[in-house]
Amino acid sequence: MFGKGSREEGWGIQVSHVDRKFGKRLVLQDIDFEVKPAEIFGLLGPSGSGKTTLVKLMAGIDRPTSGTVVVGGVQMPRLDMLGKIGYMAQSDALYAELTAKENLDFFASLFGLRGRGRRRRIEEVMELVHLTDSMKKRVSTYSGGMKRRLSLAIAMLHRPRILILDEPTVGIDPALRVSIWNELRDMSQSGTTILVTTHVMDEAEKCHRLGMLRDGRLIAVGTPGELKASANVTTIEEAFLAFGGVRG
């Protein structure tokens, strides 16, 4: 629907009746939704609502207590699927004592990129996040926003079919945020399925569809327009409050 056939058909994500318990604590309860191929799907919810837990299930590094997560037709978690998914964690998982280039080199070779192709791809993604000039600097000298951008560059490095971004634009200045969102839209147009979590309401507006998460339950799913219309409000924030059972 968004792709124009520049890549083979995109992959979707189906989450069916997923529960996730940590000990006795139920963190996710009966989550059931679908991310369609090549769309930008936003997961919206306050911190502690279970966004990161849900994202980890889809990234294939955690297993649901019950229910299934299917990515690109394959039930997760599966080791061979990890190479097709780009994941950017909420905390910047970077090797601070290494340079940006060395970090990229490391992750690129984990994904099997090598030779000239690898070099070119590293330059591409660094260009994308405006870090080309800081390529040879140690990550420990990076600012918070720069680290965030480098994490994003690493997540996109292996041209994943599915990109999962946990709070990607925290600490990034507005101008760069716009350019990152433009890039995400381009990627989705060329067939990449993108899942972002956010708690910034104006970012939520930019997603094709949204899922609202609260206390481990999915309280609403739909396009930003649909959600606002069905709650009979004008902003996403109001819609979130309405679905959460709170009238503003």
């Binding site: 294939g60 990890l82 998914i85 964690a89 910047d92 998982a93 090797y95 080199d105 490391f106 140690r138």
Partner: protein
């Protein structure tokens, strides 16, 4: 391929972190040099006071390796003893020597008693009994105590620094979230463990070569076996330390908690590494040595360096170290399940 990537990364981290690099390479050399200076010094020359000792006896005493000071009364000799200007004094009572020792240092006590005994033997008239002919199967009369426990020390340093550095770097991987990031890539759990073993293994080989060369060629430590066997032991010992360190690091939440493993894991091993005689320990305690990697490492080290034994004589020790490493590696792979279920 992915193991290689991990090896390259670990090396680059090492090269960027000059201080840790120095700790691993220079610290063992520094400490071994100090130890050799302390234990290779001349044997202690006791300071003995004399009070009214017959001239003949004083002459005999002077032939031993002691320094003599003459005192006019036992009171002044006692004062000197109390201020530790002398280690013992001899006075003459009823035609017999009476010796008072300062007594707080057993090694000085022994040295003085040995000197007095030799003096007594030399002064007793008649045949002094049968002089045995002494030969050494291993070692020699010139062997110093540094030669004796040097091999255990080399093993200890290989173990201690690798345990700490590998443990902390794996811990950092966990606490900074890079481990979480790592398991979101298609790397297999065993590849993570193998990468760490290979990366650090390569590095500790260099460390081992440097320490062994320094001890043998610069410090002149006794070395009767082949260097390659020594390196083999050090390498296996380091891998045991590495896998144990990374395994235990999953039970620590901070660098400080990692340090807390030192008195629990490292210090007890020192006691069983041959620095102290195990045969004088209680039987049940001796059994403990069997579960300590350093015991096997130090045993093999001494066999190679002092007794000049070959590969076939240390193969059992090496096998045990390898078994330790394999067990810890499997435990490592299993604990990584906590971070990714596939």
């Amino acid at each position: 391929m992915r193991v290689c990537a991990l090896v390259v990364r670990i090396w680059r981290q090492f090269l960027h972190d000059k201080r840790t690099l120095m700790l691993m390479l220079v610290a063992p050399i520094l400490i071994l040099t100090l130890v050799s200076l302390v234990f290779n010094g001349n044997t202690y020359k006791p300071k003995i006071g004399t009070v009214d000792v017959p001239a003949m006896v004083t002459q005999r005493l002077a032939q031993e390796d002691v320094s003599l000071v003459s005192y006019s009364s036992t009171n002044s000799a006692l004062e000197a003893l109390k201020t530790q200007t002398i280690d013992a004094y001899i006075s003459w009572q009823d035609g017999r020597p009476a010796v008072v020792l300062e007594g707080s240092d057993p090694s000085k006590n022994k040295a003085i008693l040995l000197d007095l005994q030799q003096m007594a033997e030399a002064s007793s008239p008649g045949p002094t009994g049968i002089q045995p002919k002494i030969t050494y199967l291993y070692g020699s009369a010139k062997m110093s105590s540094f030669d004796n426990f040097g091999p255990a020390l080399i093993g200890f340093f290989a173990f201690f620094f690798v345990f700490l550095v590998a443990g902390i770097s794996f811990l950092k991987e966990r606490t900074t979230g890079t481990l979480q990031r790592l398991v979101a890539t298609p790397i297999r759990r065993w590849e993570i463990v193998a990468g760490y073993v290979a990366g650090f293994g390569l590095f500790t080989t260099i460390q081992a070569i440097l320490i062994a060369w320094f001890c043998v060629d610069i410090l002149g430590m006794m070395m009767n076996g082949r260097l390659i066997n020594l390196l083999l032991i050090t390498l296996l010992l380091s891998i045991t330390a590495l896998t144990l360190g990374t395994f235990l690091s999953s039970f620590a939440n901070s660098e400080f908690q990692m340090m807390q493993f030192i008195p629990l894991v490292i210090v007890p091993q020192v006691f069983f590494s041959g620095l102290f005689n195990i045969d004088t320990m209680a039987v049940w305690l001796r059994w403990l040595s069997k579960i300590m990697p350093l015991y096997y490492g130090a045993d093999a080290m001494r066999n190679v360096m002092i007794r000049g034994k070959g590969f076939t004589d240390i193969v059992m020790d090496l096998a045990v170290l390898l078994a330790f490493s394999l067990v810890f590696m499997v435990l490592n792979v299993l604990t990584l399940r906590k971070y990714r279920h596939v």
